[in-house]
């Protein structure tokens, strides 16, 4: 199980990355991430939607409504140019952390005697 703090920290890059491949909606985003992480990263509804609204207000996402045959309409989110730029920044940041951790964990001889 992944701790809450890490789940919370990763929500923004996850959301931006999922919508990069095309417009998506809340339920689908949760499903995609759950599938990708084998259920390890799972957001509650009340966590995801406010984040989506926040990203929309910041101009990183834009939204549109699409009618569904039955029941209420569905709200789709898609990446804006600004969002794309932000995603690149987020990616670089994650990679930096990721590479640093890898270099520590990789099969390298320890420099200092333990």
């Amino acid at each position: 199980m992944i701790p809450r703090s890490l789940v919370a920290a990763s929500i923004k890059p996850f959301v931006l990355s999922v919508v990069k491949s095309g417009p998506s909606y809340g339920y689908e985003i949760i499903q995609r991430v759950e599938d990708l992480t084998l259920g390890n990263v799972s957001w509650t509804t009340s966590t995801l939607y406010p984040v989506l609204h926040k990203l929309e207000n910041e101009g990183l996402l834009e939204s549109f409504w699409q009618d569904v045959e039955k029941g209420p309409a569905r709200k789709y989110y898609q990446l804006t140019a600004k969002g794309l730029k932000r995603l690149e920044v987020e990616k670089a940041q994650w990679m930096r952390v990721h590479e640093a951790l890898l270099s520590l964990w990789g099969p390298q001889p320890s420099l200092s005697p333990l």
């Binding site: 909606y25 689908e28 509804t45 609204h53 207000n57």
Partner: protein, 892 residues
């Protein structure tokens, strides 16, 4: 059977009233649930389970609400909801307002207590503000105020300290500075006098000021007739104030009319050349009649003789500096100036060791004159800033008491509002909103308090002006400062009084409130401490007032060492005093209502002459009074040894003196009679010693003093010991005799005891102000107590009923309810005693003759405060104790 549509409908309803979750958001969420349920059902789950799982995954409602709320404001703008938002806010505001007004009406007692208390507090603060504003704005009407300074002389001490600072300068100094200092544009010499002024039937002694004509241009005055440049031609001009123009000439124009002024023996007709607007009371230079300074030397030979004299200082000198002059820099010229005209300053003082010279000048900026009481009183006594502080402390104390009432009563009443808070929270109110609501109620109260406070000010200001000797008026629109202060004062009061109660009220949890009648209320400790503080301040004010009153009483009635009751003082107004005295004596001899007639240079309350001399390298000083030979007997003074003056012995008038005990101590004599006063004049012989008596104010120690009989010193005041039973007759006799021997001059008189009391005028005045303040403070504290008592009785209604049923008597219930209060008052007294002693000792220290603080005042304060407090609560407690237990127990 589970119905998905019904379940979703119910779920939607539960979220609909959440303002943070907007309508679109709800649609989005519903779509989410439906998608999730569909997917789950496809995987084989039942609809019911699928729905429940989905709802569970949604997270707890409060946390969801919180998350949405965080981004609420950014969405309002983005989604074009500003109008809706504003109208919603307004309707909420209307609701708050309605609730607040309903509460005010429903809980009238508390509303009245709060608003009245706040009104008094605000009124006092405003008066303080007006007072301080007036004190600080002295002389600000003069556009050149920053360029004007008064020359003052520092009398330095051997150890480098300053003995005194005086504003009197010699005749030539002003014009010499004007010609020698490039920075000085003009020097204005000022000399205040008193002359009898006459026009037809109207005649009176008036304060007349002589000044150089530049005074009208250097200072800023409004001339009603004439122009500032030419209104005071020297030496024949005369400028009078508007009120004097009315007094002497009525509604006619005064310009060109003639006033008779009596400089010495005869009246001199002078034509009015200008009429000036009355000088506002916030001026350190006040005058009703202005004559040219140059006129002095032609009217008085003794002044003409002083024209080149540097050793007699009687004149005030104001300097107008050129634009852009740094006064502090200009002061660097003063030491050289001093030594140029006083080359003997240092050489005459062999004992001088300090690095600074014995006397130095400085420039005192005009705007500093009023509040600098280190410089001796010039044209007008400076004000001691101490009094601004006293008034400030009083005003803040009263405001604090009122705010405490508000806080304690609001917390005490909080139980009755618990349900409202609970309900508001359940239907979605956030804590911030509740704080806003209760804060708003405090603002409403303060605004109402402000309104009544303003009305109070208009009612109280005349009394306050009289007490504080001011001429204040509240002009709301004159400057932005007053309305701005009013608004901020109201907000500060609202913040202080409403902040804590709103925190407490908004903290309640809806579940606690709605489930049971829980015991709610703020911290009991805090309420108690606040009430304790109120009582401590009240007890302190009561005992402080009592101590001040005692000291004033002591000043008025303590034995000063001579008779001061029924002594009439008649100033000779420069008519020959010896002549007058002789006439009065011969004509009123044997008249029953006049018991004694005597005279002296200056009555003790009218001035003094302090003389110093050196003998064998030591400095001696004494106050010298020329008296009539019978003075000691008529005034009822006690001779410690020796004899009084004897008119039959010619030597007495030149070779003899009478001294006081302090004088004998100065010379180290054990008795003094028979000794010679070495170093003074012709070294006269001491023929008698009078017991020390207070000839100065009781603020001062008794100084060495000497009576002489030297006829070269003229008699300035006549004193008549009269029969206390026949005061009007005695005054008539004096007036008649005066009219015969000094026709044309109005008869003036005063009573010695009144004159002496005037020395303590400012103490008397402030003791009165503190009395009023104490009254209001205690009133506010009692009102608060009354409210608290009724609250505590209300919350214990059932307890009282049960106790009654079980057999408690009415008196034991009253005692039980009052017990806490008594404890509180006792504690307050314990706290108040040291506080009072410290502050009152400070005040008493300014008197050389003073009372000691006894325990009696504290007993008085204790009894009084306890009595008032008990009286206040007894109404409530007795009513509760006597009530029928059946009624109280049914009260739910």
């Amino acid at each position: 059977m589970f119905n998905l549509e019904a379940a979703i409908g119910a779920w939607r309803k539960s979220l609909e009233y959440k303002r943070a979750i907007m309508r679109d958001d709800l649609v989005e969420l519903e779509r989410h649930i439906r998608d999730e349920v569909e997917a789950s059902v496809e995987r084989g789950m039942s609809e019911e389970d699928a729905f429940r799982t989905s709802i569970k995954k949604m997270g707890l409602l409060p946390s969801m609400d919180d998350e949405y709320r965080k981004i609420y404001w950014s969405k309002v703008g983005k989604r074009g909801r500003i109008g809706e938002e504003i109208s919603w806010r307004l309707s909420m505001l209307k609701n708050y307002f309605t609730i607040a007004i309903r509460l005010l009406i429903k809980q009238r007692t508390y509303a009245v207590i709060n608003i009245f208390g706040l009104a008094i507090g605000i009124a006092f603060c405003l008066m303080l503000l007006l007072y301080v504003q007036d004190e600080l704005s002295f002389d600000s009407q003069h556009t050149n105020a920053d360029r004007i300074a008064r020359v003052v002389l520092h009398h330095n001490q051997n150890d480098g300290g300053i003995r005194s600072i005086t504003p009197w300068m010699p005749y030539p100094l002003g014009k010499t500075m004007e010609s020698e200092f490039a920075a000085v544009e003009s020097a204005i010499r000022v000399f205040p006098r008193q002359y009898v002024v006459r026009s037809g039937e109207v005649a009176a002694q008036e304060r007349v000021m002589h000044a150089d004509p530049e005074i009208l241009t250097a200072f800023t005055y409004e001339l009603l007739e004439g122009s500032v440049e030419s209104a005071l031609p020297s030496p024949e001009g005369l400028v009078i104030s508007q009120r004097m123009a009315e007094k002497y000439f009525g509604s006619e124009s005064a310009l060109g009319k003639t006033l008779d002024i009596r400089f010495s023996e005869d009246f001199v007709p002078i034509t009015v050349t200008g009429v000036i607007e009355d000088i506002p009371s916030d001026n350190s230079i006040e005058f009703d009649f202005l004559l040219p300074f140059e006129r002095l030397k032609s009217e008085f030979s003794w002044i003409a003789n002083q024209q080149n004299h540097w050793n007699s200082s009687s004149y005030f000198v104001y300097l107008l500096f050129h634009q852009g002059t740094d006064m502090k820099e200009a002061e660097s010229l003063l030491p050289a100036f001093r030594s140029k005209y006083y080359p003997d300053d240092i050489s005459s003082r062999e004992d001088w060791t300090a690095s600074i010279p014995p006397k130095t000048y400085s420039f005192q900026p005009l705007r500093d004159i009023h509040l600098d009481h280190t410089v001796q009183a010039g044209l007008r006594a400076p004000s001691n800033p101490k009094y601004s502080w006293i008034l400030g402390a009083i005003a803040l104390t009263i405001l604090l008491l009122a705010c405490i009432n508000f806080t304690t009563l609001a917390i005490g009443r909080s139980a009755s509002r618990a349900r409202e808070v609970g309900l508001r929270k359940v239907v979605g109110a956030a804590r911030a909103q509740l704080i806003g609501q209760f804060g708003g109620e405090a603002v409403l109260m303060s605004v109402l308090g402000l309104g009544i406070g303003l009305a109070l000010i208009f009612a109280l200001l005349p009394t306050f002006n009289q007490l504080a000797d001011k001429d204040l008026s509240l002009n709301l629109l004159e400057t932005w400062a007053i309305p701005a202060t009013l608004v901020s004062l109201t907000l500060i009061v609202a913040l202080f009084s409403g902040f804590y109660p709103s925190l407490v009220l908004s903290r309640y949890r809806p579940t606690d409130m709605l489930r049971k009648q829980s015991r709610v209320g703020g911290s009991h400790f805090l309420t108690k401490s606040l009430v304790l503080l109120q009582f401590t301040l009240s007890v302190g004010l009561i005992s402080g007032t009592a101590i001040m009153a005692n000291q004033m009483d002591f000043l008025q009635n303590s034995d000063v060492g001579y008779d001061r009751d029924h002594v009439v003082l008649v100033p000779t107004q420069r008519v020959d005093g010896d002549m007058l005295l002789a006439r009065f004596k011969s004509e009123l001899n044997g008249v029953s209502e006049i018991e004694g007639i005597t005279g002296m240079t200056n009555a003790f309350s009218h001035g003094w002459s302090n003389n110093g001399w050196d003998y064998e390298g030591k400095n001696y000083a004494a106050y010298v009074y020329r008296i009539e030979s019978n003075f000691v007997d008529v005034m009822g003074m006690e001779l410690k040894s020796g004899r009084s003056f004897d008119p039959a012995r010619p030597a007495d008038s030149t070779k003899s003196v009478i001294i006081n005990e302090a004088f004998a101590r100065q010379y180290g004599w054990t008795d003094g009679t028979g000794e010679l006063v070495k170093g003074f004049g012709d070294e006269p012989e001491v023929i008698g010693v009078v017991r020390d008596f207070n000839f100065l104010s009781l603020h001062d120690e008794i100084e060495p003093m000497m009576f002489i009989l030297d006829p070269d010193w003229s008699i300035g005041d006549l004193l008549f010991q009269i029969d206390g039973e026949q005061i009007p007759e005695a005054l008539d006799a004096l007036r008649a005799t005066w009219a015969v021997h000094a026709p044309n001059i109005p008869f003036m008189y005063s009573f010695l005891d009144d004159d002496l009391a005037e020395q303590y005028q400012s103490e008397e005045r402030w003791s009165k102000i503190v009395q009023y303040a104490a009254f209001f403070a205690i009133l506010i504290a009692c009102l608060g107590l009354f409210g608290l008592a009724s609250l505590s009785v209300a919350s214990r209604t059932k307890e009282i009923g049960i106790r009654r049923v079980l057999g408690a008597s009415a008196s034991s219930i009253s005692a039980m309810l009052s017990k806490d209060l008594v404890k509180m008052v006792v504690l307050a007294i314990i706290f108040a005693i040291p506080l009072t002693i410290i502050s009152m000792e400070k005040w008493l220290a300014s008197f050389a003759f003073r009372i000691e603080i006894g325990y009696a005042v504290f007993i008085l304060a204790a009894v009084l405060s306890l009595g008032v407090a008990l009286l206040t609560v007894s109404f409530q407690t007795i009513r509760a104790a006597l009530s029928n237990p059946v009624d109280t127990l049914r009260s739910e």
